[in-house]
């Protein structure tokens, strides 16, 4: 009974200490302009500390055996399982949907090169052609022969498809897409976004390197070095995988996009030829 009373006193004492430290940390972090989510985090750390110190002075657990021990054990497993699943679910979750479309595009060319991919592409083309033929037939039936002269045709006499970057052949737009797909933004800043000092800012790269040189850099990262990035160059920070991962066409698109980046107000470092 005395043990329980002293433990209760301890709970109150440690709880108050935890609260005081927590509130103090919230005050300090607020003064230092930490976002609210970090203030909550520091408060939680203070309470965790209080819980740890509470545990240190907790009264001894009475020995258990038989069914009581078994039930306690099972309850313990349920609690830790719940805490771990709950804890993991509390952290911000990455949305796989963000990645699915990207992966589809990244692997499109490689999938097409496989036997299965070729068969799938053939089927898709057949289906698309059949749909287009149906559409033409319906239009012809609806407007009659006179309208046929006004029907737009492509250079090869075919029907132009949609206005997406891929279909319209807008190299720069496709290159921008490659910038996102290859996650270049993880190392290079552009328009003030992305990058963590692993690579130079790219806003003015179009004024500093020719398309040919840019292409050489992407295919062989050792061929050029950005001034002031000697350490990163020595550590081979830029992966030399793009020659294996990207199709020629995709590299052309990326280079076309990079060549348009001509903002002299951003201090993109000079490129030094190394090979």
């Amino acid at each position: 009974m005395r043990d329980q009373r002293s433990f209760l006193k301890n709970v109150i004492k440690k709880g108050i200490t935890g609260l005081v430290v927590g509130v103090f940390l919230v005050g300090v972090t607020r003064a230092l302009a930490f976002p609210p989510v970090f203030q909550v985090m520091f408060f939680t750390y203070a309470m965790l500390g209080a819980a740890v110190f509470l545990l240190l002075d907790a009264p001894s657990l009475q020995p258990m055996s038989g069914t009581k021990a078994l039930v306690a054990l099972l309850a313990f497993y349920v609690v830790i399982s719940g805490v771990y699943i709950g804890g993991a679910s509390l952290w911000p979750q990455y949305d796989p949907e963000d990645e699915k479309g990207k992966i589809e595009k990244l692997l499109k060319a490689k999938r097409a090169a496989t036997e299965q991919g070729k068969a799938e592409e053939l089927l898709a083309r057949t289906k698309a052609l059949s749909e287009k033929a149906d559409a033409i037939m319906q239009r012809l039936q609806a407007v009659g022969g006179a309208a046929l002269a006004r029907f737009p045709t492509g250079a090869d006499g075919g029907i132009p498809s949609g206005a997406s970057p891929a279909a319209s052949g807008d190299l720069v737009a496709l290159g921008k897409e490659q910038w996102k797909l290859q996650e270049c933004y993880n190392c290079h800043k552009l328009s003030g976004q992305g990058g963590k000092k692993r690579g130079p800012e790219m806003d003015n790269i179009g004024n500093l390197m020719t398309p040919q040189e840019l292409r050489q850099k992407v295919l062989d990262p050792r061929s050029w070095m950005a001034e002031g990035f000697e350490k990163e160059y020595e550590k081979k920070k830029m992966p030399d995988k793009y020659k294996d991962l990207m199709e020629d066409k995709e590299i052309d698109e990326l280079v076309a996009f990079l060549s348009t980046l001509k903002n002299p107000s951003v201090n993109t470092p000079k490129a030094i030829k190394k090979k």
Binding site: S60, S89, C187
Partner: protein, 575 residues
Amino acid sequence: MRTWRTWQRSLLLMLGLLAVFGTAAYAQVPTPPAAEFPYTGNRTAVWIVAQLHILFAAFILGAPIFVVISEWLGYRKQDPRYDRLAKEVTKVTVILYSMTALTGGLFIFVLLATYPQFTTWLINHFFLIFAVLYPLLFIAETIVLYLYFYTWDAWKGEKKGRHIALGVLLNIIGTVTLFVIDGPTSFMNTPAKAAEGLSLVEYIQTASLWDKVYNYSWMPLNLHRLVGNVTFGGFIAGLIAAYMYMGAKNEEERSYYDWMGFVGNLIGVGALLFLPFMGYLLSFELCDYDASICPYMMADQLSMFFEMQGAMVGLIFLASNYYIWLSMKRIEGVERVRMSALTVLVMVALPFVMTYVWTIFPVPDPKSLAVLVPLTLAPWILSKGMPPLGRITVSSRTVIKVGFLMVVVGNAIWMTPHGFVATQALSTEHLELPSDWSFLALMPAKNSAAFTLIFVTVVNYILYNRAIRQGTIVWGKIDFAAQFVLIFLAFSAIWTMGLMGAVRSLVRKYFHTYNLMPDFTAESFTPTLSYAAWWITGITLIFYMVVSFAIMVTLRASEAKAPEAAAKPVPAGAK
């Protein structure tokens, strides 16, 4: 009992033959269509079976390392407790060895059924390993393990040295097996880099087996797994001790299993101290292989997995130090143990000083050691060299309490993220650390946090050692809560292993073999941490059920059969 052993042997033989001939035959068959697992999907099905296999394999490879050391200690010190510990863990190892083979066979079946094209491709690239080396090593290990176990009672006294040598041989074969199978595993993460002028695909077609095995992450993975397996084995030994303590019928048993729990925890924590360095080495090599892996792990899709890892490692260190605290409470005369106040000062200063030092001299720059080594050794050097300083002491209770405070501080630093977002692409300043404080999320701060946790734990063990020498330890009288701490440690170690195993697989992104063999299935995306946590918990619970069953059928059953033998262990040196 005889039927059970025969069944085990038949199963192992069957799986060995399957591994030798089945994979070889399958590799020649034209690509069959992939099976589709209902509910879980193919990737998660492979995940479950692979993770279970790795957990069992980790135990059977890790446990024999300290089993032999324990047997040797028992022989040298003539302390029968060490011999008994070694034998009991070996008993459990034998059962779990069958489970390793069973899940290994299942792993091959599931992999072949779900990813036939990739599996065939991988087997063809490592044909010598999959069809010859690995099965031969597995069979050799089976033979030596059974010999080791069944000669235990026959080879004692003068023959004990022979038995210990057999255990050493078992460990050599086990380690070689681990290194061999790590070849294809690490290759999937970091395939050999192409020679100048060749594409990766062209190079791999002509590369030798050694070129493929000796890749960037092979040795770091070997070391990480080797140390991880010992940690894991130690904590499982602690789990065995906790179960047996809970079911102990007399004081003698409680006393023995209390001691066994202490040893298991000591082995687990001792190896755990090296684990952050091994993990760091592995991730360093992964990033060195391809710098884009780093942001994927630390800043993008997997960043929250690493937050969870930080939380788990922090909890493991808290729990292991709490176990020391509970152990100290039952040492008579512990209040007389004191330690230099400088130790407490170093403890408090360490995370702050080392964050600054490692920012100026980032790892692996050896210049940082010029501060780290003198700082950590300062309490001992100054106490000896300047006696007046050495006389300023604090009680063991104060040292441990300050230590706990610093473990909480270390955990807080480790867990502080750059931003509360799962990917940097979505980051806004409302969710990010202020730029002046962003160093808290960088590697120097994380390294100093890890080092603080290690330093505090080492200090606590030194203190504990002094307490044992100066006071009297009363085995069998430990706070009952300590048994739950041991169970918690084993559960958390397994869970963390599952989490980091998932990370190692996921860093391959949408490839089966990074940059080489794409995964065209719809499941090649990064799952959420929450989804991963459900499955990791499920896998951990399944593993726990099997291990609990193994402990019950081996130790509890044999105890019920011959209680007198268990109560009076034969001294290791006795004939």
